[in-house]
């Protein structure tokens, strides 16, 4: 357990301090949220375009979040693969599954959690009702676990490939469809005054299943790349 905690602290330090840490993902999220109203129409209040934007604001905030959490994944395994740290970790006392899980948890702590706090700001700036804020934070935080673990599979599979980032996005986005659907369902149901707990519970179930099963896929991909 001590070794696992140490690895988690190492991963957290790397994700938090290296190259701008969570600021980079937050900056990307801000940039995406800025581009959407510019692309959707005139930013003048009380035009039909503004109301249309307000209706889909939570959805846009949600998709931007999925994209922002994908972009920081590329270096999750690649960095250690290039400098040889992966070989050392493979020789250590912690199983590859454990290291992979620690990596994803650290990824979530350093990127997913800050993004989850920024998500309601983005949604409200786009015109969503502030009453949605607590649910958006909850969905973003829980969904972020699913994004980190499923994304980790993509990052491990892309080890040693010729086009990391683009490839990770292509293979991971279809796998992220269920959490995006469940989270979107919960938020739109809440906005419409319907029962939103079903969506949130399904999202939590998916995130827990991903956290339980994804480390095995990541470890298998890692062994394959190191062989």
């Amino acid at each position: 357990m001590g070794a696992l905690a140490l690895i988690f602290r190492r991963e957290l330090a790397l994700a938090w301090n290296g190259g701008g840490g969570p600021l980079l993902a937050l900056g990307f999220y801000l940039a995406v949220a800025t581009m959407i109203p510019l692309a959707a129409g005139l930013p003048i209040s009380d035009t039909p375009a503004t109301h249309r934007l307000a209706e889909v604001a939570p959805a846009l905030a949600w998709v931007g979040l999925a994209l922002a959490s994908l972009l920081s994944l590329e270096r999750l395994f690649e960095r250690d693969f290039e400098d040889g740290a992966l070989d050392l970790l493979a020789l250590g006392p912690v199983s590859l599954e454990g290291v992979s899980a620690a990596k994803c948890l650290a990824q979530w702590t350093a990127n997913g959690a800050p993004l989850a706090l920024a998500a309601p700001l983005a949604a409200i700036a786009l015109g969503a009702s502030p009453t949605l804020a607590p649910l958006i934070v909850a969905c973003a935080a829980i969904g972020g676990i699913a994004f980190a673990f499923m994304g980790g599979i993509g990052a491990a599979l892309a080890l040693g490939s010729r086009r990391g980032g683009l490839l990770i996005a292509l293979i991971v986005l279809p796998l992220l469809a269920p959490p995006v659907i469940f989270g979107g369902e919960a938020i739109t149901a809440f906005a419409a005054g319907l029962s939103w707990r079903g969506g949130l519970l399904m999202l939590t179930a998916y995130a827990l299943a991903a956290a339980a099963l994804a480390p095995f896929a990541m470890a298998a991909a890692w062994r394959n790349a190191a062989s």
Partner: protein, 254 residues
């Protein structure tokens, strides 16, 4: 039967006549099916536009069979490190992507004539589109890793993850019938889910009239036989190309 075919020599001997046989079966079934389709009655509400059914349903079924085949071949190649299963997985992916695309395009044409829209973000359509993306991701991952064995194992992991996820995706867009009552029992609330524009299952439930069902069956089995013939031929081509590569390496070394 599959255990016996795991031997590449036996597979090559078997597939030599199996490929052409399946192709002949496919041509016969689709030929008879097309004759029956031209004679089939127009549907009460949709008129002759219903004939798209005879292309749309077989391609959709073949696309799903192709993903099951990809998943099964990937499990065998990953667990037993079997080269022939890897060749089977590699060659089935583009076929599956093709049949999925065919199902999407014919569905879109049919949707325009009967629903008045090319595309709707409906449960069935979304999950078939995601199926297409899974095939594309598989092909993309294989193509971007140079080492053939390593690419095959990485892609097999992705196909297995995709197989599990595909079940969740299908359920995430339309819940299984046991889920809403279970949810009501556990939480006392109602489960809110997507509404589907796509019609429900009507082939196995016996709702479809024989006048439509008989030509449709010919087309379904014809498409499956086409898929089988193309797959077997593609595996043979893959085996030959790997042998050629091995010979080239041998010749270069000598």
């Amino acid at each position: 039967m599959f255990a016996a075919l795991a031997n590449p020599h036996r597979f090559m001997a078997f597939s030599r006549w199996m490929g052409p046989t399946l192709a002949a079966i496919a041509v016969t079934l689709i030929g008879v099916g097309l004759v029956l389709v031209t004679g089939a009655p127009p549907e009460r509400w949709q008129g002759t536009a219903v004939r798209i059914l005879y292309l749309h349903v077989p391609s959709a079924i073949t696309a799903e069979v192709a993903y099951m085949a990809l998943g099964a071949a990937s499990v065998v190649s990953f667990v037993f490190r079997h080269a022939l299963a890897d060749a089977a997985a590699k060659t089935v992916a583009p076929l599956g992507a093709g049949f999925t695309l065919l199902a999407l395009v014919t569905g879109s044409l049919w949707g325009e004539t009967s629903w008045g829209t090319w595309w709707q973000w409906d449960a069935r359509m979304t999950s078939v589109l995601i199926l297409f993306l899974l095939f594309v991701g598989y092909i993309g991952l294989r193509a971007s890793i140079d080492d053939e064995t390593r690419a095959g194992r990485a892609a097999a992991i992705l196909a297995m993850v995709g197989l599990l996820d595909l079940l969740v995706i299908k359920y995430s867009v339309s819940p299984p019938s046991w889920l809403p009552p279970l949810y009501r029992q556990l939480t006392g609330g109602e489960l809110v889910w997507w509404n589907s524009l796509h019609q429900g299952e009507s082939i196995f439930s016996g709702e479809m009239a024989p006048a439509f069902l008989i030509p449709l069956s010919f087309m379904i089995f014809g498409f499956l036989a086409t898929f089988g013939a193309l797959w077997v031929t593609r595996i043979r081509a893959e085996v030959w190309s790997r042998r050629a590569q091995a010979l080239a390496v041998q010749a270069a070394g000598a």
